[in-house]
Amino acid sequence: MTLGRPDSQWQLGGRAWSSRLIAGTGGFRSLEQMERALIASGTEIVTVALRRIDPDAEGSVLEVIDRLGLFALPNTAGCYTACDAVRTAQLAREAFETDWIKLEVIGDDRTLFPDAVELVEAAEALVADGFTVLPYTNDDPILARRLEEAGCAAVMPLGSPIGSGAGIRNPYNISIIVERAAVPVILDAGIGTASDATLALELGCDAVLLASAIFGAAEPEAMARAMRLAVEAGHAARSAGRIPVRTHAEASTPEQGLPELS
């Protein structure tokens, strides 16, 4: 990154992307609402899941994604073991004709925190099977390093629990992950409002992934636009090189040339 000149694009999985916002597609009241929000967000990558087919379902999320020209990134949401996640990824590869997978291996359904042991095992198996693996992980720098060493194409630490909207609870750990990672870092989970997304980019994350913050907002389309601007602002600020934090004041107006008025 060159200071003062924001990169317009970033690299993920060997491809260049312009938007630094990855959007979930779940939770919207209708496909129409989802479509308007996705357009407003400026996103290029959206996550989708696989479930038993509902013959009565009206419309298809994939039709909307294809019409908008977005990349459908399948996830392994709902998987609790490495074995489940690997099998779900293989099914997703068949369904979506992509070897990209957002890997989620959940520890329990109350916190939805990743199960670190199962996650690393699944990541190793999927990398060996030729997948481009994007793992949802804890904000743990050592685990992030292990996932990178396993061959993952990015690491996606949580800011706080999925859907909590509690923001980035440990910005220090996110900074350490960013400092050490040679792969893109994508802040995944916990973003509640625009300033959370901005902070992620200011901390040096390459992108954010969010869903609840948009679909749960009173006006999803308006919040999607806010998130687009937030991500752009955060990246621009990071690129511009912020001032150091000081305890005391630092005047910007020179003291020389002050008149003597008494």
């Binding site: 979930g24 779940g26 379902a57 999320v61 996830n75 609790y80 073991t81 099914l91």
Partner: protein
């Protein structure tokens, strides 16, 4: 022939293939659909030539809006899902 289709018992004619099960589940052979037969991924190109047997377990899955925590019916082992 009785098979288990997306968790429900289903009667299919003798000689039915995986492609017949996919249609019976209400799906078409298109992008966004994946099929597992007895827990193993079945490539789309083989649906028409893969015979079913009495008691076969077929899962027909489709793309949904991402993230819901519902069952896929393809769990490998007893789930570790716990609520603490």
């Amino acid at each position: 022939m009785r098979v288990e289709l997306n968790g429900k018992a289903r009667e299919l004619p003798a000689g039915a293939t995986l492609a017949d099960a996919v249609r019976a589940a209400g799906a078409e052979e298109r992008r966004g659909i994946a099929v597992a037969l007895d827990g193993e991924v079945a490539p789309r190109g083989e649906w028409g030539t893969t015979p079913l047997a009495e008691g076969s377990k077929v899962e027909v899955l489709a793309a949904i809006q991402g993230g819901a925590e519902d069952a896929t019916g393809i769990a490998c082992a007893p789930s570790r899902r716990t609520r603490r």
